[in-house]
Structures are given as structure tokens and as C-alpha cells.
């Protein structure tokens, strides 16, 4: 009786281990930070792309509207793919786009904007990538949707697509 009970416990334990490891096989090994977590926007000081002056974040997000912060660089191929969609979003009056030029050469970034158009109401220079870290970014492109209360409500890792644009439009409506 005692042996049967021990055997039963061992079988249960091994089955538990099997289920845990089997489920683990289907999980991705790559960690991605949460994208739907509501966070306050960071306070920072950044260099303006056009005027070369430093601006405080409270001056950048000074209107009670939705904002989009898009991290981009001229050397980033997916940024070119998402650019027409950002241009499309910039036509919307209820949202302002802020560009964060990530680890880029100024002249190349300028050429990029001249060639593909400027969807941003303001571009900030993030020469060393630390401004991106303040936003919780870890690559380029990344896009953050900020609500009227200055909370980051959504984060899109990688290039945005038409579905994401439609989602954003339905949120800001």
C-alpha cells in the first residue's frame, strides 16, 4: 500500500514536470517588455532638430491632445516602410507626432525627411540613445501612443502597419 502511494506521488510529480516543460517548449525564448502597460511620460530635456535648442518635455507635450512619439533613424530600413503611414497619421488634427531621431547622422536624417516628407510636429535628437531608454524603448522603430493625461497607453515595437494605424485612429476618435 505504502509503495503504491509512493509510486503514485512520483507519477504525479513526473507528470507535473512533463506538463510544465512541454508547455515551456511552446513559449518564446525572446523576452518582450509589456506593451499595454499605462505609464507616465518621462520628464526630460532634449535637443530640437530644427532649432538646435534644448527643450523641456513639459513644453513638448503642452497641449491636451493625443501624442505619438516615434523613434526613427535614417539608417533604419523598417522606418522607411512605416513612414507613409506616419504621414497618413499626421493629417489627423487630433494628434501630434513627435519624432525621436535615434543615434543618427544629422545630414542623413535631414535628407531622409526631405525625401520622404515630415510627419512630425517636432523632432528631437537622441544622439546616444538615452532618451529612448527614458521611454522604455530598446530598438528602432518604436512608437508610443500618449493620451491627453500624458500617459503612455500603448507601445508598438517594430514598424507600424495599417491595422495599427486604424487602431490608433479608433482610440483617438
Amino acid at each position: 500500500m505504502k509503495n503504491k502511494f509512493s509510486l503514485f506521488i512520483i507519477v504525479i510529480f513526473l507528470s507535473f514536470c512533463f506538463v510544465v516543460f512541454y508547455k515551456g517548449l511552446n513559449n518564446s525564448n525572446t523576452y518582450t517588455p509589456k506593451v499595454d502597460e499605462k505609464k507616465k511620460i518621462p520628464t526630460f530635456k532634449a535637443k530640437d532638430f530644427d532649432s538646435d535648442n534644448y527643450i523641456n518635455s513639459d513644453k513638448i507635450f503642452d497641449e491636451k491632445i493625443f501624442y505619438i512619439v516615434n523613434i526613427w533613424a535614417s539608417w533604419c530600413v523598417p522606418c522607411r516602410a512605416e513612414h507613409p503611414l506616419l504621414m497618413q497619421l499626421s493629417n489627423n488634427q487630433s494628434i501630434k507626432l513627435i519624432g525621436l531621431n535615434y543615434r543618427d547622422n544629422f545630414n542623413n536624417a535631414k535628407k531622409f525627411i526631405n525625401e520622404f516628407g515630415n510627419p512630425y510636429s517636432r523632432i528631437l535628437i537622441d544622439k546616444d540613445g538615452t532618451l529612448g531608454i527614458e521611454f522604455g524603448a530598446y530598438g528602432v522603430p518604436e512608437t508610443f501612443l500618449i493620451d491627453k493625461n500624458k500617459n503612455i497607453i500603448k507601445k508598438f515595437v517594430g514598424p507600424i502597419n495599417q491595422k495599427i494605424v486604424n487602431d490608433i485612429k479608433s482610440i483617438i476618435k
Binding site: 525564448n29 517588455p33 505609464k39 538615452t130 531608454i133 527614458e134 521611454f135 522604455g136 530598446y138
Partner: protein, 120 residues
């Protein structure tokens, strides 16, 4: 002459204390960087990684130390940005209870078996 000696001593003391504070900051910075995971080269610490993300984190940690933030505050800052996963040393919370308590439970369970065998 006496004044000169005092000045030399003062100069040496202030310079050595600055050096030691820089060294302490470097030690702290390296300790923190070794305890942060790189999100790009997953499996590597930020200290070991050469990715752009890692180099930005290195700058941020350096800046935060110079601003006077303590080690725990820097970890908290990074946790808020990237979640608990970014720190190698996980905090004890509802998601990590099993992680922390399972080895202890197994230890006591094994100990109890050995104790029973020996007492028999």
C-alpha cells in the same frame, strides 16, 4: 614651510578621496551592469554586450550614479521601463514565489526523507 606642508597634505587627501570616489562609482557601475540583462543580445548582461541598447544603458547607469541615485533606485528605474525580467536577480513577488520557495521546499522534503531513513 609649515603652510606648504599642510597644502601638500590637503592636495593629496582631496585628490585621493576623489580618486576613491571615482573608483567606487566604477565598481558600483560594473556591479549594476553585470546584473542587467541585454534585451537585444538576450542571455548576455549589459556589461558584456556591445549592442546599441547596452551602450545606451551604460550611459544611463553612469548618469544615474552621478546624479546620486542608489543601486536599488537604478534597478527600480530599469524595472519600471522594462519589467522585472531586465534584472538578473529577481525580486520576491507573487510571480516569483515558486522560483524562490521551490528550492527551499525541495531541500526540506529531501531532508525529511533522509531524516526518516536515518531514524529507521
Amino acid at each position: 614651510m609649515k603652510i606648504l606642508k599642510i597644502l601638500i597634505v590637503l592636495f593629496l587627501v582631496t585628490n585621493f578621496s576623489e580618486l576613491s570616489s571615482d573608483e567606487t562609482n566604477d565598481v558600483l557601475k560594473n556591479k549594476i551592469l553585470k546584473n542587467i540583462r541585454c534585451l537585444i543580445c538576450q542571455g548576455q548582461s549589459v556589461y558584456d554586450s556591445e549592442s546599441e541598447f547596452a551602450s545606451s544603458i551604460k550611459l544611463i547607469v553612469d548618469r544615474k550614479i552621478n546624479e546620486g541615485l542608489k543601486e536599488k533606485q537604478i534597478y527600480q528605474f530599469l524595472r519600471e521601463k522594462y519589467g522585472d525580467w531586465v534584472i538578473y536577480d529577481p525580486k520576491l513577488n507573487i510571480n516569483t514565489y515558486i522560483l524562490w520557495l521551490l528550492p527551499l521546499l525541495l531541500f526540506f522534503f529531501g531532508g525529511a526523507i533522509i531524516f526518516r531513513k536515518l531514524s529507521n
